[in-house]
Symmetry: D2
Subunit: 125 residues, 4 copies
């Protein structure tokens, strides 16, 4: 790895930040603030509703992460799939409790995902 | 690349889907359905409000993508930064028009990001 | 939006950073450094090969972003799909030039994606 | 939620897929295939090296996810931070064992992130 990384290493400590470094920081900061602003707005809704929206958002996120861990055959997919199953089940249960027919597809997708993630989480490292 | 990919290639056409392949599909499907359900809920709000939330969500997304393109020094960062600047400006303008002091940090982060992304987008490929 | 955001706004300027704020920053910093380290390692490979890997990585990223913009019905999907088509074509062409049969599925997925993203990018805002 | 989702619900079962639905699927498929192709190429390297690259990639991913869970104040950040700490430590240890001075920043970022994520993971739900 020595040679590979060495040739192109311009991100080390002590290097003068370029305009691009600054732009990366601005992008990551804007990403963070936007995500937090959105979450705060979601929480601002009535209790049940806001909880469902944050769960749906969390569920999308952890499903995506678990898919990525499996796509790269990382041994840690066992852990991410374990959490994924938990979040999917809570998301499905919360959506179910709202009794909204339009959440049917979401509930079904969560149940199916929880089932297979649960199996994956039982594989040994 | 031949040898490198060949040894481990179990994802090609015609291979029998494993439980993990199925789990990846379930995760990606759940990710998609959750994202769409969330977006539909956001659109269900009153006009100005929903537009702002979707813009804030879009803004978070494209900022993240632009940061990633710059982190990997991809030549296409010129394109992603160009869109990023556009989305940041529209997001800031829309938030501004709501006259909500709590959106101040979001507006400022968007303006700062738009400014540096705009500069990046003018670099030649 | 006023009330919604106001009640829960603990991320504004001047607030004392909590342990969680610090953890968010540590996570985002680690995310950035890992992504850059990986990209540097990929660039460290022989010319054609490294270019293909960075293109495949860029392609995964922009496909994901375009999917998200469409999932949330953002008007900017026209822009993200436009870039997506460009990146997919360059990724497919570069992979094609390597003449590696194991890249076949990747090339086909890129071509199919480029085709439909190209159509999407021609829709007016 | 009824009214909110109902008005705009065009993604339910049985609806005819639009060109955009198809484009979303093509994007997600291309995303999946590209990620898998990249991972296979990384695994194709010599043993230690490939393990480090996959760990660095996993680490970037889970750091990003943990940041997102904390940004949205999801109760499940306790779980994601727990895994994040585990992955960061393994990533730092593996990078350390390679004895490459250019991985110094990555190792430090991982250690700092592991420390604060570990604290977060001990908070009760």
């Amino acid at each position: 790895m020595q040679t590979q990384v060495m040739e192109n290493n311009s991100k080390g400590k002590g290097h003068v930040p370029t305009k691009m470094d600054q732009c990366i920081q601005n992008c990551l900061n804007c990403f963070r603030v936007c995500e937090q602003t959105l979450a705060e707005a979601l929480y601002g809704n009535s209790q049940n509703f806001s909880q469902a929206l944050i769960l749906i958002k969390s569920c999308a996120e952890i499903c995506h992460t678990s898919a990525k861990f499996m796509m790269m055959n990382s041994a840690f997919h066992v852990d991410t799939c374990g959490i994924c199953a938990k979040v999917c089940i809570e998301c499905a249960d919360t959506c179910e409790s709202l009794g909204d027919e339009n959440l049917r597809e979401c509930i079904e997708a969560c149940r199916a995902c929880a089932k297979s993630c649960n199996e994956m989480s039982k594989m040994s490292h």
